[in-house]
């Protein structure tokens, strides 16, 4: 980690987005993670994605559980409210926050210990409920803060730094999210910013439960020979099914693509996801086919990345519940309190 304070003055020529903000306006406190930690790259990708989308920083709520990954919301979007909650229980806190104010953008940050071990139940149920959010698991397959224990996403056969071999089956969060009804599911790698930034942008625009499993090597405890979550291993085995561009409004098409090599998916908010196919015949709107494909490639020892599944027209918890359009936290006495006349009628019925 760095101890140098960040200068408050910005270079006058730094590029600005539609709101007039520079990327620096989307930064947070200085990271206290290890130098080279994959998580810091993900924070940088979040900053880049929010800046590019011209999201008002204060309209984002950042929520996390406990762990290295859950510390990171302090390191981006300093003008947003953040909540470092309870280990494994961020999904419930995020669900409640979302119910209170449907107008904010919810960003849940978690780790593999937080989501796949202690919090697997809450992970499952937030996906089932279709909470409108972007849920990122910074997946390094290891417990960092407690110094190197296997996590539930460690692959069977993967070797720990001190030599122990994991004999338990790994939990596949991507497979679970798809099976449980998440309407946007992606996997990426913290070392591939070009892939990760558009995925985060697309997820932020997605009006339903969006999940990104981001493999993020732990340089301190899981970046050695024999680990399946090291930089080298992931680079060698990474098989991207597509490359994504997120197109807002009517941006002109600047690149030429060979016919049949591009799929476009228009999301509910009007944004267009342009997918350059890398795997032939991969259709990210076909959930069952996507699940089969993932199982096949996994058996072949590959780590499939890219936008794996998207439902272009998702519903969310508020739609399912039928709540009012006005955020519940803005309703006042007049809307909420039925008053004494209604109470008199209730009393009368109880006599």
């Amino acid at each position: 980690m760095s101890y140098l304070p960040k200068p408050k003055l910005h270079h006058p020529t730094l590029p600005k987005n539609a709101l007039g903000y520079t990327r620096r306006d989307y930064e947070g406190a200085i990271s206290t993670l290890c130098a080279g930690c994959g998580h810091d790259s993900i924070s940088a990708a979040i900053i880049q994605a929010c800046w590019e989308l011209s999201i008002e920083p204060h309209r984002v709520a950042k929520l996390s559980g406990i762990g290295c990954s859950s510390k990171t919301p302090d390191y981006f979007l300093g003008a947003s409210h953040g909540f470092n909650s309870v280990h494994g229980r961020m999904p419930s806190v995020l669900t409640g926050a979302n119910l209170a104010n449907r107008d904010l953008i919810y960003l849940g940050i978690s780790g593999d210990g937080d989501s796949a071990s202690i919090g697997l139940g809450q992970f499952a149920h937030i996906m089932r409920r279709g909470v409108n959010m972007t849920y990122i698991v910074e997946n390094n397959g290891v417990y960092g803060l407690t110094k190197g224990q296997f996590s539930a996403t460690s692959d069977k056969g993967s070797k720990a730094k001190r030599g122990a071999v994991n004999t338990d089956e790994a939990i596949d969060l991507v497979g679970l999210a798809m099976q449980l009804g998440a309407t946007f599911v992606a996997r990426s790698f913290s070392g591939d910013k070009a892939q990760l930034v558009p995925l985060i942008k697309a997820a932020l625009l997605h009006e339903g439960a969006a999940f990104i499993d981001c493999i993020s090597p732990c340089v301190a405890f899981n970046n050695h020979e024999g680990s399946t979550k090291s930089y080298d291993f992931v680079r060698e085995h990474n098989e991207a099914v597509n490359r994504l561009d997120v197109i807002l409004g009517r941006q002109p098409i600047t690149a030429e693509y060979a016919p049949g090599s591009v799929t476009e998916v228009t999301q509910h908010d009007g944004s267009v996801l342009r997918l350059r196919k890398l795997a032939p015949d991969y259709d990210p709107t076909d959930r069952v086919a996507a699940m089969n494909y993932l199982q096949e490639r996994k058996a072949a020892g590959e780590i499939v990345t890219g936008l794996l599944y998207v439902d272009p027209d998702p519903t969310d918890l508020h739609a399912n519940m039928g709540t009012v359009a006005v955020p519940l936290n803005r309703l006042g006495d007049a809307e909420l309190c039925p008053g004494s006349a209604a109470l008199a009628r209730i009393n009368a019925a109880l006599r």
């Binding site: 406190a29 008002e56 920083p57 204060h58 309209r59 709520a61 929520l63 919301p73 302090d74 300093g78 003008a79 947003s80 409210h81 953040g82 909540f83 470092n84 909650s85 309870v86 229980r89 999904p91 419930s92 806190v93 995020l94 669900t95 409640g96 926050a97 979302n98 119910l99 209170a100 104010n101 107008d103 904010l104 139940g121 809450q122 499952a124 149920h125 409920r129 508020h318 519940m321 039928g322 709540t323 009012v324 359009a325 519940l328 936290n329 309703l331 006042g332 006495d333 809307e335 909420l336 309190c337 039925p338 008053g339 004494s340 209604a342 109470l343 209730i346 009393n347 109880l350 006599r351």
Partner: protein
């Protein structure tokens, strides 16, 4: 043989089989007495079971208005062969036994000192109905008919009630009326009516209402402005969340769009329930959960976070006995300490103790103001007896001029005007800092919420001095709360006394009755009903004014007494525990006997006087 005689003062108990449809007939019986202007107290005693196990319904008729459980049974309606022997054994000598005489029973099944009233209910039903379910259900209405003749219930009242109950379903109303009269007519023709126990119309109910505490608390949450409810089913709190949904569907739909001004999540467990509450409240909505003891255990970690991160949360704890199944369908006040000091680290929480459904409503609404004002969890401590039984209580009242107290929330305008914002900064000296809702202002007022490791401006720090500073402020905040929570209610004895009694929650009705009886015994007690924790100064003052104070509770470990001892540094020897914890609601008879016993045992007579 002796036959009990009493007018408007007796106990009727119904022994039924769970799932046999007896509940609505029994409620009809209870309500018809109320409509005659005679106060009653009714209680369900039910098993952890959907169908087949024994269940009892007890109605205490009390013209004098005693609403606690009395104990003992004057008339047993024994409809369950499974529990026959113990039901018969429970009847007071000279009491009455009403049973289905279709099948003859050997003489050994009865008691010499009990008046037996046989009504051939099954036989009449089989003759009147062909459908099996109808035969079962109408049997219940039929015994209400027989009871109306035996006890002198006004049949017109019953007819009116049936009309209200089956409004718009005239055929159903008529068939119930027919069954009622079949039972009534048979009794009038074949039995000596009335028996020694009689009802005589009074005007002692007044404007009071008859309602269960869980419904009342849920209605309090509606009036208190709660918009988010997250819960997990657990007896005896389930009906609270269900009542909230019922009332919201009636009172909280947007009239123009038909959309909901509320959100209810039946969560995957209690951890998620409280997590949703904390998230919603952090984001500026009023949120609550309803649970019972085991749920409180599961919520501990989040309750601690909410305490340290200073997030409002309302938790309705409908207390019951023990873990697992069985005793959990019985009542207790056994979560006092678990709730008062819930979670890890140094924590203390606000508790409210409603005595009846009327206070469940009032405190149910007040809890949201307190939670927002103090930015902390607030527990409303109901129990199964209040929560799941219908109680006769004062009607609900609401002042239309009342507005929600959202506490110290800094607005975008105040931030824009340059007001200093420190999330954990004690600006006013009362220990309560300002908070902001997420999304308030583009560049001011955002902060990062975490447990303990931060300074007054919510910046991360692991310094011990910042931690101590914060913990001291939290204590100041708790001290401030003393003046805001409901004050205790004192009732002075008829003559000056050095003895006092402290009681709370569902023990109150029985306690009030016991006070009258004890006075007749020559035991004079000043009585204080505690309504909240932290304890108001009046509570410690009351203890200081008395040499010894009995503390009446429904748990084994004298939990409120422990709390008083710790928080008030009271000499434990001066607080005498009176404890009832077998799962049945406490009775005036029990309190009277226990206090009389302790009072005489503790009365030290000077040696010289004791010598002849």
């Amino acid at each position: 043989m002796r036959a009990l005689t009493a007018t408007n003062d007796f106990v009727v108990k119904f022994a039924n089989v769970n799932g046999s449809g007896s509940a609505s007939a029994n409620t009809l019986f209870a309500k018809s007495i109320l409509r005659m202007g005679i106060p009653i107290a009714s209680r369900n005693i039910f098993p952890s079971n959907i169908q087949g196990l024994p269940t009892w319904f007890e109605v205490r008729v009390s013209g004098e208005g005693h609403l606690g459980r009395r104990g003992g049974v004057d008339l047993m309606v024994a409809m369950n062969p499974q529990t026959w022997d113990r039901d018969v054994a429970e009847i007071e000598p000279g009491g009455y036994l009403l049973y289905d005489s279709t099948k003859p029973l050997p003489k050994s099944k009865f008691r010499e000192d009990v008046n037996v009233i046989g009504v051939p209910l099954t036989e009449m039903c089989n003759a009147a109905y062909t459908d099996a379910r109808q035969r079962q259900l109408m049997k219940n209405i039929m015994y209400v008919g027989a009871l109306s003749a035996l006890l002198q219930i006004d049949p017109a009242v019953v007819e009116t009630l049936l009309g209200e109950q089956y409004k718009g379903k005239e055929r159903l109303a008529q068939s119930n009326r027919d069954a009622f009269h079949m039972g009534r007519d048979w009794a009038l023709r074949n039995l000596e009516c009335p028996i020694g126990l009689r009802l005589s119309a009074l005007d002692a109910v007044g404007e009071r209402i008859f309602v269960d505490g869980n419904s009342a608390a849920a209605l309090g949450a509606v009036y208190g402005g709660a918009t988010v409810c997250a819960w997990y089913p657990i007896t005896p709190s389930t009906s609270l969340a269900e009542a909230f949904e019922r009332y919201c569907r009636r009172l909280r739909m947007d009239p123009e769009t038909g959309k909901k001004r509320f959100a209810i999540v039946q969560a995957e467990d209690e951890l998620a329930s409280i997590g949703i509450v904390v998230g919603a409240a952090w984001n500026g909505a009023r949120a609550f959960t309803a649970t019972s003891g085991p749920g409180i255990s599961l919520m501990q970690e989040f309750v601690g976070l909410a305490y340290f991160a200073e997030i409002p949360a309302v938790i309705f704890d409908v207390q019951r006995a023990g873990p697992s199944t069985g005793m959990p369908t019985r009542t207790q006040q056994a979560d006092i300490l678990a709730a008062a000091y819930a979670s890890h680290g140094d924590t203390k929480h606000i508790l409210l103790f409603p005595e009846d459904p009327h206070e469940c409503f009032t405190m149910g609404a007040d809890a949201f103001d307190l939670a927002d004002r103090f930015q902390t969890p607030v527990f409303v401590m109901l129990d199964l007896d209040i929560g799941m039984n219908d109680w006769l209580c004062e009607p609900f009242r609401w002042d239309d001029a009342r507005r929600m107290d959202r506490g110290k929330v800094m607005t975008a305008e105040e931030l824009e005007a340059g007001k200093t914002f420190g999330r954990y900064l004690d600006v006013d000296g009362d220990g309560i800092p300002y908070r902001t809702y997420p999304g308030t202002h583009p560049s001011k007022g955002a902060f990062f919420t975490r447990g303990t490791s931060r300074d007054r401006f919510a910046r991360y720090t692991e310094q011990g001095s910042a931690y101590v500073d914060n913990m001291q402020r939290l204590l100041r905040k708790f001290e401030t709360a003393k003046a805001y929570v409901p004050r205790p209610v004192e009732r002075r004895a008829a003559q000056p006394t050095r003895d006092g009694v402290i009681y709370y929650g569902s023990s109150s009705a029985a306690m009030r009755e016991a006070l009258g009886a004890l006075e007749a015994d020559g035991i004079h007690l000043d009585a204080l009903r505690v309504r909240a924790f932290p304890f108001h100064d009046d509570v410690m003052d009351f203890i200081a004014r008395h040499d010894r104070v009995f503390v009446v509770e429904q748990n084994r470990d004298a939990q409120l007494r422990t709390l008083l001892t710790i928080e008030g540094c009271v000499d434990p020897a001066r607080l005498v525990p009176i404890l009832h914890y077998d799962g049945t609601p406490i009775t005036a008879r029990f309190i009277r006997a226990a206090i009389a016993d302790k009072a005489s045992a503790l009365n030290v007579v000077p040696l010289r006087k004791a010598m002849p």
